[in-house]
Each structure stands twice: as structure tokens, then as C-alpha cells.
Subunit: 158 residues, 2 copies
Amino acid sequence: MPHSHRHEQGCCEEGPGSRVEAAVLRMKQKSMRVTSPRLAMLKALASAKHPLSAEQVHVAAGDDKLDLVTVYRSLGAMDDAGIVQRHPLERGRSLYALVTPGHHHHHVICRRCGKIERLPGCDTSRLEAAARTKGYGELTHVMEIYGICPACIPSSHA
Amino acid sequence: MPHSHRHEQGCCEEGPGSRVEAAVLRMKQKSMRVTSPRLAMLKALASAKHPLSAEQVHVAAGDDKLDLVTVYRSLGAMDDAGIVQRHPLERGRSLYALVTPGHHHHHVICRRCGKIERLPGCDTSRLEAAARTKGYGELTHVMEIYGICPACIPSSHA
DNA sequence: ATGTCTGCAAATCCTTTGCATTTTA
DNA sequence: TAAAATGCAAAGGATTTGCAGACAT
């Protein structure tokens, strides 16, 4: 029963395994059922280096083992439960990422090639505080930064 | 917080009219054509108190005077040109707002009733700086805060 | 004149819904 | 066993595309 604190890739992050376990635990606490399709989805999300689309989760989880509809429904349920975070983006698409409490962060997305990179930190506290002052509750936020990545900049005058 | 404006239209001294003029000017500088459908859209956006959906722009601009497709296409062109800002949000929808240089801000959106309120300021500079350090250029960002508004909180256990 | 927009129709794409069946707790 | 989740088929809804005609500059 591995409960190690090894540093996998990049920053201070727990391994995919424990992230899945943590998610499963939170799902049980919310009396959600842990099924094999969901487990496959969690594993896919846990080993992803950045947010995935429903389609990508479907493929990564084994598109022959679960239906795309199930992916959408489970992702929706997990989003409601705070297990994953949904990142709505341009053109009506959404990306989903496993939530790791205490590891909140955002991303830069290349408008040209779609590359996604993680950015450290988050400066929204002031805005959330303002919203709270207005009487809003259960606050969450979505924020994405768009730009042209280094590799695309040479041809950015398309 | 200085003093509150009862109605935020424009948020400062400038009225809808000058905002439209400014937008038209910028469109001409980018050699975009100023047509009557576009002018109607700009007026609609200029007098809106918060971001509008393509559908709302269509109606506000006079849905019998221009096609919804034209609204989408022009909004897209204006977004590319930086005349309007697109706010992608949940469920594949987007809202659009006229950009007023120097008046950058964000919003709180009620997850339950969809009410939108403006929030002052923006704390993304640190994140954009991080993106710039990674070599990204032409940065823009999208950020929305979601919550349950005061009016909806009583029934927030839906 | 000519490169842009527009309108109309039809297409796409992502996502959601209905319902009978299977599965988890 | 009851509540919840799944699969399959079909629907839904927002946004996009093709193309011929209209328009701004």
C-alpha cells in the first residue's frame, strides 16, 4: 500500500496513484459510486499533465471500455462534487482536471496550437472577496490566459 | 470603495455614444468595414450593463435587421480585433462585451439564476508575467467567478 | 472596382436527454 | 434491494461554413 511522497514530475505533486485514492475517498464521502468507468477516468485524469477534454478522457480511459456519454455524465457529477474542475474555454469546449486541494493553479493556452502549460499561483482572492461582499456564496472561478506560444510566435502574423 | 453608482452603464463619464465612436474608430484603423448591422451591434453592446450573448445582441440590435449568423461572424471579427471581449462560459455559451481600454474588469455569475454583476479590478498581472516569462506573447485572459447570488442562496440546496 | 460583409440554408460540433438494463453499496 | 450509473440511440443547442448577392471604401 504505497503512501509515498515521491516527487513525480515538475513541481511538488503527489503521484497519480494517491491522487486517485484521494479522489475515490472524496467520492465515497459524497456517497457517489465508484465504478470501473469512473476509476478509469480518474486514472486518466490523474496521470495527465494538464486539463483534458471529455474526448481525451474517453480515449485515455479506454474508449472501448466506457461510453463517451458516461464520460460526460461522470465528469459533470465529479465537477458538481468538486472532484474535478471544469475549465470552459473558447468555442464551446471544456477541459477537466482532477482537483488536488491546496494545488490550485491556472494555465496558459496557445491560441494557435492549443498547447497548454501550467502557471503557478492564483491572484483571485481580491475578486472573490469582492463577490463575497456582494453576498455571493459557494464561490469558484475559472480563469485561462491565452497567448501565442514561443513555437508559434514566428508565424503569429498569419 | 469610493462611492456607488446606482446604475453602472459605462461606469464613468463616457456615454454609450462615445464608446461606439471609439469602437468605430478602432475598426477603421484595422480596415474593418463599418456596416449598419455592425453599428447596431455596437450600440447594443455599448448600452448593455453587462456582457451579452450572441442571441441577446441579435435581439438588442433588432433581430429583423440583421441575421444571427452575421452577429456571430461580426462578434468573432471584433473579438479578433480586440474591439469586443469574448467571455467563454459554462455549457458552451459565450458572452461578449465592448472593450473600453483602461476599464478592464471581471464578473460574478450566479450559477443558479445567471445574474451577472461587475467586479472591480483584476489581479492577473502576476500570472500574465509568468506566461510572458515562458515566452508567450499577445496575452489576453478570461476569468469568471461563479457563485450563488444573495437572492438564490435561500434555495441553494436545490 | 474589389475586397468585405451579409443573408439564407444546411452542416458541425460538443454536450445533453430518455429509457431500459446493469451495477454498486 | 434500492439508489445510482451505464449504454445506446436520438435530441438539443450554440456556433460555423458555403456560396451567391449586396455593400463599404
